[in-house]
């Protein structure tokens, strides 16, 4: 047996180990990549449909359309996928695959903003993707508006907010409060504020543009406010044109 205490042995061992493990992981990652990408694609479709109320919710918990049916349901309910760039609106059937984070980092003129028009029971839904920052990491989601800019549903998700506090933005009791709130105040863009101390924990006033914040999650809540306000604003002029 070689002397395992020698420095040269230690270094050679470390190098060989890194090469072997690196190769193994690279092989695993690249062979599973197609399946993982497919799962992420289905998830986006589920999220978009969830925001417009196409889901299998039961009391208290979030339930998406099953992955096996989501593709069919997506093409059934989403009648148009649009991309807004430089004031031009074009149709693009793969708009839902656009990475909003990357687009928001670009210059205004190069930005491609996806917008989805859904139809359910004769009613139109304009579904806007959201992306912003929470306390620890990214938060994102979708908000569905009707033609009067009234929120019909939202879906939020996060990468690493605090479990039990900020992570609860993806719980029903938070997301459901947004339904019915108005984005516009008259003709003025107002957005929606996640507010503390608005004396309305049951969210009975729907027209004040405020929803009750999560206790202990101030910064995540502010992140949600900022995310909705900055992103939805970009879309308002186009929704006006689309309504006709």
């Amino acid at each position: 047996m070689a002397n395992t205490d020698k420095n040269s042995y230690t270094i050679i061992f470390a190098v060989v180990m890194v090469l072997v493990v690196g190769a193994l992981l690279a092989f695993t990652a690249s062979s599973l990549k197609p399946t993982i990408t497919e799962n992420e694609r289905f998830e986006k479709q589920q999220n978009i449909l969830y925001a417009m109320g196409v889901n299998e919710n039961v009391e208290g918990s979030v339930n998406f359309i099953p992955t096996s049916e989501v593709e069919a349901e997506f093409s059934k309910y989403i009648k148009e996928q649009l991309v807004i760039q430089n004031g031009q609106v074009t149709k693009d059937s793969s708009a839902y695959l656009i990475d909003l984070k990357g687009e928001l980092a670009k210059d205004m003129s190069e930005r491609r903003l996806p917008l989805f028009v859904g139809e359910k029971e004769g009613k139109d839904y304009y579904i806007i993707p959201l992306y912003g920052k929470g306390l620890w990491d990214a938060i994102w989601g979708f908000v569905a508006l009707d033609a009067d800019y009234v929120v019909q549903g939202v879906y939020f998700d996060h990468k690493g907010e605090t479990p039990g506090l900020g992570a609860n933005i993806k719980e029903r009791y938070f997301m459901d409060d947004f339904t019915g709130e108005e984005i516009m105040s008259g003709t003025q863009y107002e957005g929606i504020t996640v507010a503390k101390g608005n004396n309305d924990p049951l969210n009975e006033r729907k027209d004040d543009g405020k929803v009750d914040a999560l206790a202990g999650a101030t910064i995540t809540g502010n992140g949600v406010t900022a995310m909705i306000n900055s992103t939805v604003k970009l879309y308002i002029p186009y929704i006006k044109d689309l309504k006709l």
Partner: protein
């Protein structure tokens, strides 16, 4: 017990009860608190740890004579990290929703003290077969507690087991809910996991007083 010698049986079964990693050695508590709000997540976490610990123990045991002692902790970390990444990728590919529920906790298997503890305490000094049994045994002991805690938290907190409404429907007021039973939302919060673990430790020690430490 023709298949396993007495010592081997001990390796496999001791960690399930009298040498349980969670209730006796008090290792791996963090993940026991974090992911046990649902039975399903508990089971998957338990299976992931069984896989990582069993395979990791065998790998470390096979390499025990060639690992340079100066960097042995780093080698152990690399082995756990590689196995955990593989588990994570496989979950993402074949159980995507579950991988979202477990999110960071799969990555946190790396920091689960039980794993490094078994590598250091057992696999470095024993052959691969025994190390394999030791890995299965300890991970199963960990998983058993996880599943017990998950069972009670999901049952009492949400009134469901593996997502099935076993106590009736809380909205339609059927089953137990018809006579005024309510779910205890407190069970879904992490502190209640600690209390359930505490109760398990209490029961275990009152049944077997040899486990109680002398002060």
């Amino acid at each position: 017990m023709a298949l396993l010698s007495k010592k081997d049986t001990g390796l496999l079964l001791d960690p399930l009860a009298d040498n349980n990693p969670i209730t006796i050695q008090v290792l791996g508590i963090c993940s026991a608190l974090a992911i046990t709000a649902q039975l399903k997540a508990s089971i998957v976490m338990a299976l992931s740890v069984v896989f990582v610990l069993a395979v990791g123990n065998v790998v470390i045991s096979l390499m025990r004579n060639i690992i340079p002692s100066k960097i042995r902790i780093i080698v152990q970390l690399v082995v756990v990290a590689a196995l955990v990444i593989i588990v994570d990728q496989v979950l993402k590919a074949f159980a995507y929703e579950l991988s979202k529920t477990l999110s960071v906790f799969v990555g946190l298997i790396i920091t689960n003290c039980i794993i490094m503890g078994r590598f250091e305490a057992f696999a470095l000094g024993n052959g691969p077969y025994r190390s394999f049994l030791d890995g299965i045994g300890n991970a199963a002991g960990y998983g058993l507690i996880l599943i017990i805690v998950g069972f009670f938290r999901e049952l009492l907190g949400s009134g469901t087991l593996l997502g099935f409404k076993v106590l009736g429907d809380p909205i339609a007021k059927t089953g137990l809910y018809a006579i005024g039973y309510e779910n205890n939302g407190f069970m879904l919060l992490s502190p209640m996991a600690l209390i359930v673990v505490g109760i398990i430790i209490w029961i275990q020690r009152s049944r077997n007083s040899a486990l109680i430490e002398e002060n």
